[in-house]
């Protein structure tokens, strides 16, 4: 990469790095702090935790990894990847939800010491 960085440019970039650094620390503190609030709704807990994590990830990827100023080719590679990642995660979980009622593929352990050979 033979971009000639002027002193000015670099100083600006460095300032951004420090801002992102503090933002990341704050984000971490927020996540942990919220954790101590013990929400009753599971969806809300997961939602908030993932939202904060995604914001932090965006900051690292966008500024530290320079994705915001990166070239189209890299975006193409990453978007393709993310699409398949989401597809994999979603379809695998959706599949689990689709098991016939009453089937017990997982979590069917009982606390008694005699396991039943399930007749499925």
């Amino acid at each position: 990469m033979s971009e000639s960085h002027s002193h000015h440019d670099l100083a600006k970039h460095i300032k951004v790095y420090w801002v992102v650094f503090f933002a990341l620390l704050v984000g971490t503190a927020v996540t942990v702090g919220l954790n101590y609030m013990h929400f009753d709704s599971l969806a809300l807990t997961i939602g908030i935790a993932m939202f904060v994590a995604t914001v932090k990830a965006f900051l690292v990827a966008g500024y530290f990894m320079h994705l915001l100023s990166e070239k189209k080719m890299i975006y193409a590679i990453l978007l393709t990847t993310v699409f398949f990642l989401v597809g994999m995660m979603f379809l695998v979980i959706w599949g689990r939800d689709q098991l016939p009622r009453g089937s017990s593929f997982f979590g069917s352990h009982n606390s008694s010491s005699t396991p039943a050979i399930s007749s499925q």
């Binding site: 959706w94 599949g95 689990r96 939800d97 016939p100 997982f106 979590g107 352990h109 039943a116 399930s118």
Partner: protein, 607 residues
């Protein structure tokens, strides 16, 4: 900075440096893509033969169950021990491990390395006008990882308890409990081997994609790439993104085997009458999802390079452009994309609900469309062609109907209501072997006959080639055609005695006698198929020294790999390549010759 003088200066320094390369650096630890391609090719062909030999012994057991294997039975007993091969008779356990290893070796150690790594490594940089791959040292490491993986897989036969015997699909919980006597067993080595092979493929995929993106010669735009390069590009993406989940799953199964975890082991598991002392709470389905997430793109990895090769060979030997270049490109991109969202059609019988089953059925049906488009374009490319029926062309032509049969017979498997009947039967075996054996392997043979003159400077014998072709075509079909019938009659897979256990009698419904008798015919045809490869093997080695000498471009082909000396020197091209036209400028009206190489300079025209 003057780029040319800089390049010339380092070129000289480079030259001087390279004259000092000893035997080891030149042939064993080479970073030259051509040497690495040949290394991959040779190793892969050895494994192809080894996998084939495993099958010939399995077929004996199916046709003549519980009888000692002639010629090699005694050897088997001596090498593998009397508990699996006593008296030269193949035990069911041995049959299972031969079966698991046959699949693993053929897919991961033979076809993918040959189709993708060997041909890709040798041909792709040449076809795009590049001096080498983008990362030559990573290329070398990638081969070494493959080689190590092969060594581990080979030696797993000698592990306590024998090689892996839970299918090439290694389903849990069987994969963890198949051999309870040994912790580090053949299955463990299988998993370790897979980790090495996956690493090799990942490194290779990064290299291929970066090379095709970055190292295309000036003028080699995306839509001027030979279709073979497009096919390899998509294949590399499939390997890059689909293999890591299997690597993760492999690590997890290793932990199940070695560290008593229960990633894939459900609660309440009872093995051999005893409750398993595991924590439970895991999911066998999770393994299947992660395995097939790779497994399905993997089969497209097996076929796409073959399609690419066939396109090149058809164009060269019909003296016509390939019909529908744009359709081919968009179709191969569509196949790549869709192949990631069809995997659960391998899991229709796991009790999945109707919604998800419908989803996968739909995507599976859709993915057949671009496949048909590609096949149609290749068929249409023959129309009006001035055909040269050399051996390469014969194999390429045969690929078309053979892959057609394989593809069409996949349709009942992709629809879940017919798959209910056909799942895990011999119909499945027939289907996928048609696609890979008279499909991909024929394309690979075609590629070998086609590119042999560029690699060695000599032709392979046409007479031996044609004997090889006709015998292989006949016996391939004799081996796999009857299996469709067997499968539809209900004969299931992985039975060491060919289904004799389920033979129908006067009082019990079972497999009909004529279905079981087919096992004998198939076995004989399989051995004949093996014998039919002998002309090829002789031809392959004999022609290196004694084949008819070939010029630099003996087939009068347009693509850039033929526009360089034979064999290509280190750095590939003696002068920089500039591309001026598409890859299939054959029989252009008004031209003196019936082909125009991609890099031939434009004739000056007064405008």
């Amino acid at each position: 900075m003057d780029a040319t003088t800089h390049a010339a200066h380092t070129h000289e320094a480079h030259e001087a440096h390279h004259e000092e390369l000893g035997f080891w650096r030149k042939y064993i630890f080479s970073t030259d893509h051509k040497v690495i391609g040949i290394q991959y090719g040779f190793t892969a062909l050895c494994f192809l033969m080894f996998g084939f030999l495993l099958m010939t012994m399995m077929r004996w057991s199916m046709a003549y169950p519980d009888k000692p294997i002639p010629m090699v039975g005694g050897l088997l007993e001596k090498i593998l021990g009397a508990d699996v091969a006593s008296g030269g008779v193949m035990s069911p356990d041995l049959y299972n491990s031969f079966g698991a290893m046959h699949g693993t070796i053929m897919v991961f150690l033979a076809i993918v390395p040959l189709a993708f790594a060997a041909f890709g490594n040798y041909v792709v940089p040449l076809q795009i006008g590049a001096p080498d791959m983008a990362f030559p040292r990573i290329n070398m490491v990638s081969y070494q990882a493959y080689f190590m993986g092969g060594v581990v897989m080979f030696f797993s036969f000698f592990a306590p308890g024998g090689a892996a015997k839970s299918g090439w699909t290694s389903y849990s919980p069987l994969a963890t409990f198949a051999d309870m006597a040994h912790r580090v067993d053949g299955q463990t080595l299988w998993l370790l081997g897979m980790v090495l092979l996956i690493t090799s493929s990942l490194l290779g995929a990064v290299n291929f994609i970066a090379t095709i993106i970055q190292l295309r010669a000036p003028g080699m735009t995306w839509m001027r790439l030979p279709f073979f390069v497009w096919a390899q590009f998509v294949t590399a993406f499939l390997l890059l993104l689909a293999f890591p989940p299997l690597e993760a799953a492999g690590v997890m199964q290793l932990m199940d085997n070695l560290l008593d975890t229960s990633f894939f082991l459900p609660s309440g598991l009872v093995v051999a009458g005893q409750p398993a002392t595991i924590s439970g709470g895991g999911s066998p389905l999770l393994w299947q999802h992660l395995f097939w997430f790779l497994g399905h793109p993997e089969v497209y990895v097996l076929i796409l390079p073959a399609m690419g090769m066939v396109a090149e060979i058809i164009a060269t030997n019909t003296r016509k452009p390939i019909w529908g270049y744009k359709s081919l490109v968009y179709s191969v991109l569509a196949i790549g994309f869709l192949s990631f969202i069809v995997w659960a059609h391998h899991m229709y019988l796991t009790g999945m609900g109707t919604k998800i089953s419908t989803f996968f059925q739909t995507t599976t049906m859709i993915i057949s469309i671009p496949s048909v488009i590609i096949l149609t374009c290749l068929f249409l490319s023959l129309w009006g062609g001035s055909m040269r029926f050399n051996t390469a062309m014969l194999f390429a032509l045969a690929f078309l109907p053979m892959f057609g049969i394989g593809g069409l017979t996949g349709l009942p498997l992709g629809l879940n209501f017919t798959d209910l009947h056909l799942h895990d039967t011999y119909y499945v075996i027939a289907h996928f072997h048609y696609v890979v054996a008279p499909g991909t392997i024929f394309a690979l043979f075609a590629g070998i006959y086609h590119w042999y003159p560029k690699i060695t400077g000599r032709f392979m014998s046409e007479r031996l080639g044609k004997i090889h072709f006709w015998l292989s075509l006949i016996f391939m079909n004799l081996v796999f055609q009857p299996m469709f019938v067997q499968g539809m009659a209900g004969m299931i897979r992985r039975m060491y005695n060919g289904g004799a256990t389920y033979a129908g009698t006067d009082t019990e419904v079972g497999l009909p006698a004529d279905i079981l008798k087919m096992n004998v015919n198939i076995t004989h045809a399989a051995w004949a198929l093996g014998l039919a490869q002998i002309p090829f093997i002789i031809n392959f080695f004999w022609s290196i020294k004694k084949g008819k000498k070939a010029s630099d471009n003996p087939w009068n082909s347009t693509t850039v790999e033929w526009q360089t000396p034979t064999p290509p020197p280190h750095g590939n091209f003696t002068k920089p390549i500039e591309v001026h036209r598409g890859p299939y400028e054959y029989s252009v009206p008004g031209h003196a010759t019936d082909f125009t190489p991609q890099n031939e300079p434009e004739k000056s025209t007064k405008r």
